[in-house]
Each structure stands twice: as structure tokens, then as C-alpha cells.
Symmetry: C2
Subunit: 344 residues, 2 copies
């Protein structure tokens, strides 16, 4: 019954107040545990509220307090694949757990319907139904991100946005991680002719992971033999790129696991053995890489951890509480499995 009385009408503070014999204002204070109300009255109010199944109207509260009590998780359209990606689930899981602990609602804003001219960003701004937002996997040149920032809505970005110097961001050091992964193939497995399948280069992640790869091959003086092909994080593209190439390489660094898996299936169909003929390493570790055969070695990105930190940061931002950081990188870890030659 919760929000409805026996008569079907909503139970409001007024109803509780009438039953207790005081005013709605006093009830409000009682439920807020204000010290302006006597313990006895508080107790009575609480009892009656429970009896009647009183639940406060979030709309009224939001209006009065000028605070929605909710945060938005924004996912740009560009990343249709992101949504179909377990990355998002890790993020969502982290966001909701923190939000729950703070009695905050989580709303999902996607802009699947660009047709109607409203992006996810606008949707949040329009609605004004969130006190802040977490934005993930945005493209580098997304002017709506700038607008969102400019709007003053509390915002925390997950990922790296070097050009947005004022933004609060949390991400991983993709360049270093990619460099380390590449060096692993070189140092541990002795690969010298490397292929890199990039992510979309309009995303910073794509650029950084490519740059890390390039740093590594350059440092080892094997840049001349290195091949860089532009991909888009999709399995299909990973497959197609490898399928359309000769066999002049002995190691592949893919910018994510999906492309690594695409590469794996392509290599399989070309009859090239992994890892003996071609060592393969991916990026992300959101689930896929662990279950393939051979299991794909990868750089594990702690998506949930980032989401948790981002959400905590956002809530502090909203509350105007002091914060420890403005730009933060979390540590990745390396999962050397079978596809690079490490695993059993």
C-alpha cells in the first residue's frame, strides 16, 4: 500500500499530521529528526507514518529543496557498441552501489534517438532531474560535452580528456599501459614485427593506446617493422583488418579485447597458430578475453573501481564537499594468459 491509503489516495504529510494532532511542518521536522521536536512527538510521528505507510513525495521534496536526489549516467550514442559492451555494466554496477549508499537515484541517459534531435546531454539538462552526471566514453571532439561542462551541471568524466583542462576526470594511463603490454610481447616473447589494431582515433583512448604502442616499438628500434591499422573497437573490424593483411608480423597488440577476438578468429581461419606463430594481447578484460580459447592476454581496466570513484567524487562535488582529486588515474593490471604465450 505504501503510498496509498485504503481510499486510494496518496498519503501525505498532512494526513500523518492530522492523525498525530500536529501540523505538517512539525511532522516534517520530526521525520528529519530535528531537535526542535520533542522525542515523544517524534516517536508518535514515526509510528503513525509507518502505520499509514507514508512516503514522502520526491517531486515535492525536489522542488522545495531544489535538489533532485538523483544523478545521471550518460552514454553517448557514438558508442552503440559500448552499450552492448559489458564495460557499461561494470560502470553501472559501480555507480549504483555508491548511489544507493547515499540515497541517490540513478538515471540512465542515452541518446539512442538522435533522430529527434535531443542528445543524452540535453536530455539531462532539459529534465533537470539530476543533480549531476557521470559521462563515459565520449569522443574527443564532442561539442555537447563542452556545452554540458559550460552549463555548470556537476560533472565527472570517465576517461581521458586532456583538452578539457577544467573537467574532473578519472581514467587509466592508457599510453603507459599500452606501452607496457607491447614491451611484454617484445621482451618476454621476443616478438619484433608487431601489428597494432587501434581503437577509433576520435576517442582519446584510441589515440593513447596507439601512442603507447608506438613508444614501445620506437624504443626498441623496431618501429620500421611495425604496422598500425585503424580500427573501431569492434570484433568485425578486428577480424577484417587481420584478414586483409599478409602474414608479416609475429605479434598483435589490439586496442581492446573485441578487436583482439576478431583478430583471433581471423588468424584461426588463416591457419596461423596463437601464440606460437602470432602472439596476441588485448585490452580491457571486461569478460570476453577470459573465456576464449586460447584465453586472450590483456590489460585489465578496473571499470567498476573507476565508476565507484567517479560517483563518490560526483556526490562530493554536488554537496560542495572538499575533494581529494580533480584528475585521477587508476592502476591497470596485466593478465598474461595464453594468447601471448604466458598461460598454461
Amino acid at each position: 500500500m505504501a503510498a496509498k491509503s485504503a481510499t486510494g489516495k496518496r498519503v501525505t504529510l498532512r494526513d500523518v499530521a492530522a492523525r498525530v494532532g500536529i501540523t505538517p511542518a512539525a511532522c516534517s521536522m520530526a521525520l528529519a529528526d530535528s531537535d526542535r521536536i520533542s522525542p515523544a512527538t517524534k516517536e508518535a510521528v514515526r509510528r503513525v507514518a509507518a502505520e499509514l505507510g507514508y512516503v514522502g513525495s520526491s517531486a515535492a521534496r525536489a522542488l522545495r529543496k531544489q535538489r533532485a536526489g538523483a544523478i545521471a549516467l550518460i552514454v553517448p550514442t557514438t558508442s552503440r557498441h559500448v552499450f552492448g559492451h559489458s564495460y557499461f555494466m561494470h560502470v553501472l554496477s559501480g555507480v549504483t552501489s555508491v548511489a544507493n549508499d547515499h540515497d541517490t537515484q540513478v538515471l540512465i541517459a542515452t541518446n539512442a534517438d538522435t533522430a529527434r534531435g535531443l542528445t543524452a546531454y540535453e536530455r539531462v539538462m532539459r529534465s533537470n532531474s539530476a543533480d549531476g552526471a557521470i559521462l563515459t566514453s565520449a569522443a574527443i571532439e564532442d561539442e555537447t560535452v563542452d556545452r554540458l561542462l559550460a552549463s555548470g551541471l556537476p560533472l565527472v568524466l570517465i576517461g581521458n580528456f586532456p583538452q578539457l583542462t577544467d573537467a574532473i576526470t578519472i581514467g587509466v594511463d592508457d599510453r603507459s599501459a599500452s606501452r607496457a603490454a607491447t614491451e611484454h610481447l617484445i621482451e618476454v616473447h621476443g616478438r619484433r614485427r608487431l601489428l597494432h589494431l587501434t581503437g577509433p582515433l576520435d576517442h582519446q583512448t584510441g589515440v593513447d593506446r596507439r601512442d603507447g604502442f608506438l613508444e614501445a616499438v620506437t624504443a626498441y628500434g623496431i618501429g620500421a617493422d611495425a604496422i598500425v591499422l585503424e580500427g573501431d573497437f569492434s570484433e568485425e573490424r578486428g577480424h577484417a583488418l587481420v584478414d586483409g593483411l599478409g602474414d608479416t608480423y609475429d605479434g598483435i597488440v589490439a586496442a581492446n579485447d573485441d578487436m583482439a577476438f576478431g583478430a583471433l578468429t581471423a588468424l584461426r581461419s588463416r591457419g596461423r597458430a596463437v601464440p606460437s606463430e602470432v602472439a596476441l594481447i588485448g585490452f580491457d578484460d571486461f569478460g570476453l578475453s577470459r573465456v576464449t580459447t586460447p584465453a586472450i592476454s590483456t590489460v585489465s581496466v578496473p571499470a567498476e573501481e573507476m565508476a565507484v570513484a567517479a560517483t563518490e567524487r560526483l556526490l562530493k562535488l554536488i554537496d560542495g564537499k572538499p575533494a581529494e582529486w580533480t584528475r585521477r588515474d587508476v592502476e591497470v593490471s596485466f593478465r598474461y594468459r595464453q594468447s601471448c604465450g604466458c598461460g598454461a
Copy 2:
């Protein structure tokens, strides 16, 4: 916040009205395209609103209209694995796309914090910040579901709940599907000694899929050789169950793909070949089964389609519009891949 003017104050209808030279009420009607307002005025209001960056307060509107403009997607705690499961993403994807088309917000309600005594269900009821809810993967005996139903909150359940005769539900015919999958192993691949790894039996899905299996083996008179082991939808359990068993079977029907994968790794470590020695079939097709080696044959459950239908149904329910169905099953499809012996 987009809703703030240069001075930092929120832009309200009053501001727009003052600028146009009419009252807020007229503005409201103008923006609602009411025919009580002249086209010229409407035009003026729209222009000024755009100029000022006016965005309506969702809280005020919700309060006035007694309508939140949002729906909740509820995920019970019991299914921690569900949240870590791509099933949820398919559902979320379907829900958001429909909700977006109807200018409705989606909020996620999980009850990760049972510690504080509030389940996801209560959370939605408490907040009153959703006009209705979609509930997925609830256990059979979940009295809070009953309470939620009793509360009168518009509700659509995804899954099968035979005991809740009044509830609006959408699901798949798990029993028939499971029977068909089992029969496939029997008829097409000639397996006679079958093992079934069940889902959690406090979920209807677990029960129905087991019953379908039993129907099939009974119909073919091979029930005596059949083994049924109780699982919980987890990969670990699937692995453990198979690992702890002899090799007296030549086919496995797992109640979901995770358990099928667990079974696969266990078989691999025991040196039993799939599909030649043991044919394997799973259930769900949410992503995992396609990428393993061998790829796992499975029953494809159209999660996104269910979510879309559920959301459309919910929105109609909220609006009091006529609806076509109250209990509905969507069709599954069969993906016979390598693990049963079909695929290349």
C-alpha cells in the same frame, strides 16, 4: 545548469513570461501548444524560451501533474550474478530505447544495500519517483514482489510467475524450449545418457528448464539414465558439478550458458572431447556462448525484445491505454553451434 541565466539563477516560466509580456500560465499553455493561445504568442514564447535557455523543472511538473515521468528498472539483489550478466544489459538497452521514445526517464533500482533494510522494491515505492516499474529476474517466493503488486504501482514482470495470476508478465516458454533443446541432443545427435545442470530452483526459470528436460528424457524413455544436478546459473557451479561427477553421460543440457561454459572447462580438464564424447547445449545466448571454443550451442532468449515489449506495455498501463496482452511469451530461437555437434 542550463537552467540558469547569466546571473546564475534558474530560468523559470516566470522569466520567460515577463520577457514576452504575458503570464506564466499563458507561457505554459503556449509551450504545450494549447489552442487557447494564438500562434503569434506561441511563436514569441518559443523564441524567448530558447533565447533564455528555459527548461521546465521536472520536479515542479511532477508535483503538479502527479506524474514522475520516469519508470524504474528493478533488479533484485538475489541475483548479484544477474547484474554481472550481460542479460541485464540487453534488458536495459531495450528499456531505455523505448523510454527515450516516450520522453520518459529510466531509473535503476537495485537493492545492493539490504543492510539498511530497504529493498529495491521499497526504494521505488518510497521515492515515488517512478510511475511504474519493470521487474526482472525475481525469485518465485519473493514476498516483496507481492507487496509491490499490492501497492498498485504499475508493474510489468519479465519472466514467468505462474502463481501471480494477476500480474502482467512477459517471458519465454522455458519448458518447451528446454524440451526442444534436449530433444535435439537425443534426435539429431543420438545422445541417450543425459545430464542436466539446473538453474536455481527458487526461480521459475530454473524449474521450467528442468521440467522441459525431464519431459524430453521421459518421452524418449531414457529417464532412468538421466542425471539432474542442482546448480545456480554460475560458471563455477557448472564447473564444480561436472568435475565432481563420473563420465557416465554423453550429453549435457545446462540451464544457462554460464554453467555450460563451466561444464566445458571441466570437461576439458577431464580430457573429454566436446562434442564427440559429450554433446553440450546451453541456454540464453547473451554473448558468452558464441565466443568460446567450441562455440556453445544454445537457446537464444530475446532479452532485448522482451524488454522492449515490457516497456511498451508498462507505458500503456501507466497511461491507462488499452493493451493487447497481459501474459505473453516471446519466441526463442535455437543456435546450434559446435558444442552439440552441429557447427562447423
